[in-house]
């Protein structure tokens, strides 16, 4: 039978085996895959991308009214299939602004002070399975326009915060005051001076930007008298702007890498206000009917997708999509968690240089892959055979794809009705 040495050997083997088991258990705990209940929420919460938008506009150019009317337009689904939702304290303020603007018997809002500078956050909600959930998040910075032109008071931090927001913005919207365009058209020196100052501020921030850029002409209703046809009107304004050297150079430099649009909006409608001796007054019988206020934000996400596509050469694009298809076979949850590292490795340099550093590069790749995979109706069959966590992740991906398509449709309608809205010389056929 076994002697004393045999007993010792067996004891050592048993202890060593159990130690190895302990190490394996500790490593597995550290790399533990989320349980189905965690993964179901983790996939949704972890992959809701936030796009931070900064509108560059001088004081009085219409940033606050654009925000107010845009939210009013998008707070219900309509025929879009999605809607936006703001936190309750922000909703109260947005409603207060709307009531003040829409009431023909009250004055215009007094303007944004430095103490009111903050970011409004909107969840883009759509149906995911049985419930409505956020699939995208949009941030819109509200600030006083004088921060772009006037020096900060000693001890103030507002301008520093604005500059930081500009540097980290996922999209920039240049606000061009329609009133200044009208004044420039009619030879008013003050109007031309302010218009050039506004464009200078845009050029300074947009020229080095890597993110999508769009231009919005506010107070579009004040320019109704330029021409009865809207596209002709827009073409006239576009010609005026492209006649300004700095703006023309900005469009030429940025237009080679991204889609740039000139979007005319009226936050109050064409029958609400009138220009009377240099003063914009509300008509007593004015009808509050904003137009195109949803387009600037609708253009942000699809433009990010296009920018990602432009930044990738054909071979890299095909490799990413092939890998995405391969990774989606086990389930979308694992694919979502692992695709980003693969895509970043294959296309990281190109995407980072195109989109700028930060999480938006990875998130933009997710959206790009979403948009390129099989159409929604073919994905219904994919739900069978997946566990609950993967089914939920698949529904989330499909829901986000629907929202992106709806946003793109809105932009397509604008381009179809107003071809002059497209700036730059890139052909997107």
């Amino acid at each position: 039978m076994l002697g004393e040495h045999g007993i010792v050997v067996i004891a050592i083997v048993v202890v060593a085996t159990n130690f190895v088991v302990f190490l394996i258990a500790a490593w597995m705990r550290r790399n533990r895959r989320p349980s189905p209940s965690e993964g179901a929420d983790g996939a949704g919460a972890a992959t809701v991308p936030t796009f931070r938008v900064v509108a560059l506009g001088l004081q009085g150019s219409g940033k606050t009214l654009l925000l107010t009317s845009m939210y009013r337009r998008l707070q219900t689904p309509g025929d879009r299939g999605f809607y936006v939702r703001a936190p309750y304290d922000q909703l109260i303020e947005l409603n207060r602004w709307y009531q003040q603007v829409a009431d023909t018997e009250t004055d215009w809002p007094e303007g944004t002070s430095r103490g009111e500078m903050r970011e409004f956050e909107f969840d883009v909600m759509t149906s995911v399975g049985e419930s409505a959930e956020p699939v995208l998040r949009l941030g819109y910075l509200e600030y006083p326009g004088e921060l772009l032109t006037d020096q900060d008071a000693p001890g103030s931090t507002a301008q520093t915060r604005l500059i930081a927001s500009l540097a980290s913005a996922d999209a920039l919207i240049g606000i061009i005051d329609g009133l200044r365009i009208w004044q420039t058209y009619h030879g008013e020196a003050r109007g031309r001076l302010i218009l050039h100052a506004a464009l200078d501020a845009m050029i300074h921030s947009m020229l080095p930007a890597a993110c999508p850029i769009a231009f919005v002409i506010t107070k579009w209703d004040l320019l109704d008298s330029l021409h009865p046809d809207e596209n002709t009107r827009l073409h006239m304004v576009r010609t005026l702007l492209m006649g300004i050297e700095g703006f023309r150079d900005l469009v030429r430099v940025q237009g080679t890498r991204r889609v740039m649009r000139l979007i005319p909006v009226t936050a109050v409608g064409h029958d609400f206000a009138v220009l009377d001796h240099g003063e914009v007054r509300k008509r007593p019988d004015g009808q509050f009917r904003p137009s195109n206020v949803d387009v600037p934000l609708a253009a942000v996400v699809p433009d990010i997708l296009r920018q990602v596509e432009l930044s990738l050469d054909q071979a890299t694009r095909e490799r990413i999509l092939a890998e995405a298809h391969r990774r989606l076979r086990p389930g979308p949850l694992e694919a979502l968690q692992s695709l980003s590292s693969f895509a970043a490795h294959k296309a990281g340099t190109a995407v980072v240089s195109a989109m700028g550093v930060g999480g938006i590069g990875t998130l933009a790749l997710h959206l790009f892959v979403d948009s390129q995979l099989a159409p929604v109706r073919e994905q219904a069959s994919r739900l069978t055979g997946l566990d609950e966590a993967d089914r939920r992740a698949e529904r989330f991906v499909q829901a986000r794809r629907r929202v992106v398509h709806a946003l793109q449709d809105r932009v397509n309608v604008l381009e179809a009705t107003l071809p002059s809205s497209r700036l730059g010389n890139e052909d997107w056929s």
Partner: protein, 240 residues
């Protein structure tokens, strides 16, 4: 110079017809220390919710000050006061057709004011309107003016103590000691079982005594004597 506990220093934040919101009136000692910019960010419009607002703010240089402020929409009478020019026929507006709004009030050091007096706000508004008229006269070249302190009528309230710093605990990983102890116990049990199983085969069991042999003429003398089994003893009756 620092403020006394019962003195109020008027301040004003407003926009002009062309220039945007800025500090137009502030205590001289804040101006001298280049420390008045915090007023622009600390003072925000009331939104129609209340006639005034109070707050405590800390300047960039760490001065903790109590603020009381209210809003005022500029009227033609405000601009006409002290002016030889005829008043405007319409509500004063900026070049974007928006009404002109003042955010005015007073600040004090080392105390707070929970219930400001109307007189104190009125005095602050008078000082603010004076500065504002001078600002409108030359917006491009106006520089922030130093305000004159006045004795507060409002009852000062003592400031609450600053909040204690939050104690944050580092999250600790759940220890793996129970797992380790369990494995150790299992190891000892396995070793003990193996030892017990292997040690029971070393010593053979004692042999069975030889079976008794059949009767013979000559009894075989043995050293060991055997004791015949005792006769069975009947059990006492239980008596039950």
């Amino acid at each position: 110079m620092t403020a006394t506990a019962t003195a109020g220093w008027p301040f004003l934040i407003a926009r002009g017809r062309r220039r945007g919101y800025r500090v137009l009136l502030a205590p001289g000692w804040l101006i001298d220390e280049c420390d008045y910019g915090f007023l622009e960010e600390a003072v925000s419009p009331l939104g129609g919710a209340a006639p005034y607002r109070t707050a405590t703010a800390t300047s960039a240089r760490g001065q903790r000050l109590a603020l009381v402020w209210a809003e005022h929409l500029v009227t033609t009478a405000d601009l006409a006061a002290g002016s030889a020019a005829p008043p405007e026929s319409t509500t004063p507006r900026d070049e974007h057709s928006r009404p002109l709004r003042l955010l005015y009030g007073f600040l004090c050091a080392d105390t707070t004011v929970d219930d400001p007096s109307r007189d104190d706000l009125a005095r602050s508004r008078q000082a603010a309107l004076g500065a504002y008229r001078r600002f409108l006269a030359d917006e491009d070249h106006f520089t922030v003016e130093s305000s004159t302190p006045f004795d507060l009528v409002s009852a000062p309230a003592p400031q609450p103590p600053p909040p204690l710093p939050a104690v944050t605990r580092q999250p600790t990983r759940r220890p793996a000691v129970p797992v380790l102890l369990g494995l150790l116990a299992a190891s000892l049990t396995a070793v003990g079982a193996i030892w017990f199983a292997t040690s029971s085969g070393d010593t053979p069991p004692p042999g069975c005594p030889p079976p008794p042999t059949s009767s013979s003429s000559t009894p075989t003398p043995t050293a060991a004597t055997t004791t015949p089994p005792a006769a069975a003893t009947p059990l006492p009756s239980s008596g039950c």
